[in-house]
């Protein structure tokens, strides 16, 4: 069974009376443990696809199965639960809550879950991204790379099967970007499925498979022959 199964997925936006097609029927599968990069120019439909498989939006046609259950026809509350339990989001602009400490930010998904809150798990998540010493700093007191690590820890805290990264290195310098990619690769090696959207070919080369989109259609689906291994430079 595949983690993600997309069949003829369509999405059309209505702007006034005009219908604007964004995704014109896309079909692919992502197995457990894959590392996929989604690429494409602006308007190619990659963001729309991300929103759909991230359960933030509903398709206007087609089927989308996530972790064995049909996620295309869920209610709003059910989709919220799927986002909480099955998906970890990492955004381009980090999207941490500015008034909360790193620790609380990382704990946030637990607060919306029915599970018992587990500070130990939060600590482990933060330590696994190398932020063991900055629990009580607010995002303002952290560098961009550190903020993104908090975001990754937040994505990990409920132990979801898949991590979605929407241009996760877009706001970072290249060295820091490589550090984040190293974390993603490590998570992937530990068994997590990782899907990232990016338009930087260098970043996409860190994945094992690249899906290219153009004009709302899947243009190509290829395995990466020479996967770049991210080796973060040691910090002085």
């Amino acid at each position: 069974m595949a983690l993600i199964e997309v069949q003829d997925l369509k999405k059309t936006y209505k702007i006034g009376t005009v219908e604007v097609p964004a995704l014109n029927g896309v079909t692919f599968k992502v197995e457990y443990g894959e590392f996929v990069a989604i690429m494409g120019p602006s308007g190619s439909g990659k963001s729309t696809l991300m929103n759909l498989i991230g359960c933030l939006d509903r398709p206007t046609g087609g089927k989308f199965i996530l972790d064995g259950s049909d996620a295309s026809k869920l209610t709003d509350a059910a989709r919220a639960e799927v986002r909480n339990r099955k998906i970890g989001f990492v955004f381009q602009s980090f999207n941490l809550l500015p008034k909360m400490s790193a620790f609380k930010n990382a704990m946030l998904p637990m607060m919306y879950s029915s599970q018992r809150r587990d500070p130990k798990r939060v600590r482990e998540a933060l330590e696994s991204v190398g932020l063991g010493h900055r629990f009580h700093h607010t995002p303002m007191q952290l560098s961009g790379g550190e903020q993104q690590r908090v975001a990754v820890a937040r994505a990990l805290v409920n132990d979801p099967p898949v991590i979605f990264g929407d241009e996760p290195t877009g706001n970072l310098d290249s060295a820091t970007g490589v550090e984040i990619m190293a974390i993603f690769q490590r998570l992937n090696n530990e068994g997590k499925t990782v899907i990232i959207v990016t338009h930087e070919p260098d970043i996409a080369q860190h994945a094992k498979r690249i899906l290219r989109f153009r004009d709302g259609l899947l243009e190509s689906d290829e395995q990466v022959e020479e996967q770049l291994i991210a080796v973060p430079r040691p910090r002085e």
């Binding site: 929103n51 991230g54 509350a77 986002r83 999207n95 909360m100 409920n158």
Partner: protein, 434 residues
């Protein structure tokens, strides 16, 4: 998200904008403080009125002479020249067999001095029943007796303030008081009566500075202390001439007040209508008297209190409404400002309901904190008013609970719309929001 987490989030949010939170709360603070302070004043005034009316006794009827002026005064002079008279008291006593006691009083002009210093006391001629109908108690000695009146004895009973004026801290019993060149022997002393700081009713007077003497003694030696009807000059001269010629009989002597003691409060209504019809006949329709029914006054004051309470509630309602609108305004601004935060929360698993609850709780925290501060300010305000203005205030627990409840309700009502707006935010749009 647990409710405690949500409250904590709300508090953190409020504390991170202290100034804005404070300003937002002000409406509720003022509303609640105003309600509590005003209800306290109202309760205090009500209590005062009740005490005073109870002091008069609710099972009595007072009939007082009333001064009338203008055209009516001329007719009064013709038809009922002596105002409230001893004969009125006698007729009431005869007709109202159900009355326990009918006690006449005469407040008279008198010149009372200690040494050469004039003293502000009031001499009141009355009968032995006065002590009980005025709900007074003896401190020492005895009150006037029927025998004093029968024998025209020059004895007097002092009110507490009168005693203090005349004798200071000495024991007055057996000592003499000089009034209009006549000496009275003090036979009794009355306990001080609590009169209250503000007089709720014009009919109340301070009984503490009274000196009581036998009513017939007051008739022979003193003039009644009241403006009788004032007719025009010519008619007045005629009347004076007539009066001088016709010898004034004891039957016609003027009274200040007649107090009728009844069995119970319920008897006052029917008794008052009987007395009214008697006096209407004997005074030939001239209303130179007024009938005061304390039980009735009590009802009136309670009715007034009810109206006061309704007005109070309306004012409170308006100020809380304004406060609530202020809160809604700020919450709407907050929702817009925090669109991105809402997007993030939704993205990591918050349901719409989680968002509604979070913003509702924030509004609720604002209004409840405002309510608490308002309660403190209101109670403090009531205390200040009673300290500086000398009004009696009574902080009522009911007012505190109700106004706190209403401020919480304001939080729910006015927090609802912004919270729903927050929940309707599309997470995709919200994440894109700068």
């Amino acid at each position: 998200m647990g409710i405690l987490d949500a409250i904590q989030t709300g508090l953190t949010e409020l504390l991170s904008h202290k100034m804005r939170s404070m300003l937002t709360m002000l409406g509720v603070i003022f509303g609640v403080a105003a309600v509590i302070a005003m209800v306290s004043i109202g309760e205090g005034a009500k209590q005062e009125a009740l005490d005073q009316i109870k002091q008069m006794g609710i099972d009595v009827i007072h009939i007082r002479r009333a001064s009338i002026t203008g055209e009516l005064a001329n007719r009064a002079e013709e038809r009922s020249p002596f105002g409230l008279k001893a004969s009125d008291a006698r007729i009431i006593d005869e007709v109202c067999t159900f009355a326990q006691m009918v006690v006449p009083t005469r407040e008279v002009f008198a010149d009372v001095k200690v040494g050469e210093k004039p003293v502000s006391v009031k001499i009141v001629g009355t009968t032995s029943g006065y002590l009980s109908v005025s709900k007074s108690e003896l401190q020492s000695g005895r009150f006037l007796r029927d025998k004093d009146i029968h024998d025209h004895l020059s004895v007097c009973v002092l009110g507490a303030a009168a005693k203090r004026e005349l004798f200071g801290f000495d024991d007055p019993i057996g000592k003499m008081v000089k009034a209009n060149n006549r000496l009275f022997r003090v036979v009794g002393l009355i306990k001080p009566k609590e009169i209250g700081s503000a007089k709720a009713f014009s009919t109340m007077r301070d009984l503490n500075s009274d000196i009581y003497i036998p009513i017939n003694v007051s008739e022979t030696d003193f003039k009644i202390a009241s403006q009788q009807a004032v007719p025009s000059d010519v008619i007045m001269l005629q009347r004076i001439a007539q009066k001088l010629m016709s010898k004034q009989s004891p039957e016609n002597s003027s009274l200040s007040e007649v107090i009728v003691q009844l069995d119970s409060e319920e008897a006052t209504g029917p008794a008052a209508s009987i007395i009214r019809s008697i006096l209407n006949r004997t005074h030939r329709g001239i209303r130179d008297y007024e009938i005061i029914i304390p039980a009735e006054l009590l009802k009136q004051s309670q009715a007034t209190q009810r109206i006061f309470n309704i007005v109070m509630a309306a004012i409170a309602g308006i100020s809380l409404l304004v406060g609530g609108i202020g809160i809604m305004n700020i919450m709407l601004a907050t929702v817009t400002q925090r669109t991105r935060e809402i997007g993030v929360r939704r993205c990591i698993g918050a349901t719409r309901w989680d968002i509604v609850r979070q913003f509702m709780l924030e509004a609720l925290v604002i209004t409840c904190m405002g309510g608490l501060i308002g309660i403190v300010a209101g109670v403090g305000g009531a205390k200040l008013i009673s300290d500086f203005a000398g009004w009696r205030t009574m902080v009522s627990m009911q007012a505190i609970i109700v106004s706190f409840g209403v401020s919480a309700l304001v939080g729910v009502v006015f927090g609802m719309y912004p919270a729903v707006r927050a929940a309707m935010v599309d997470p995709i749009e919200a994440l894109r929001y700068a």
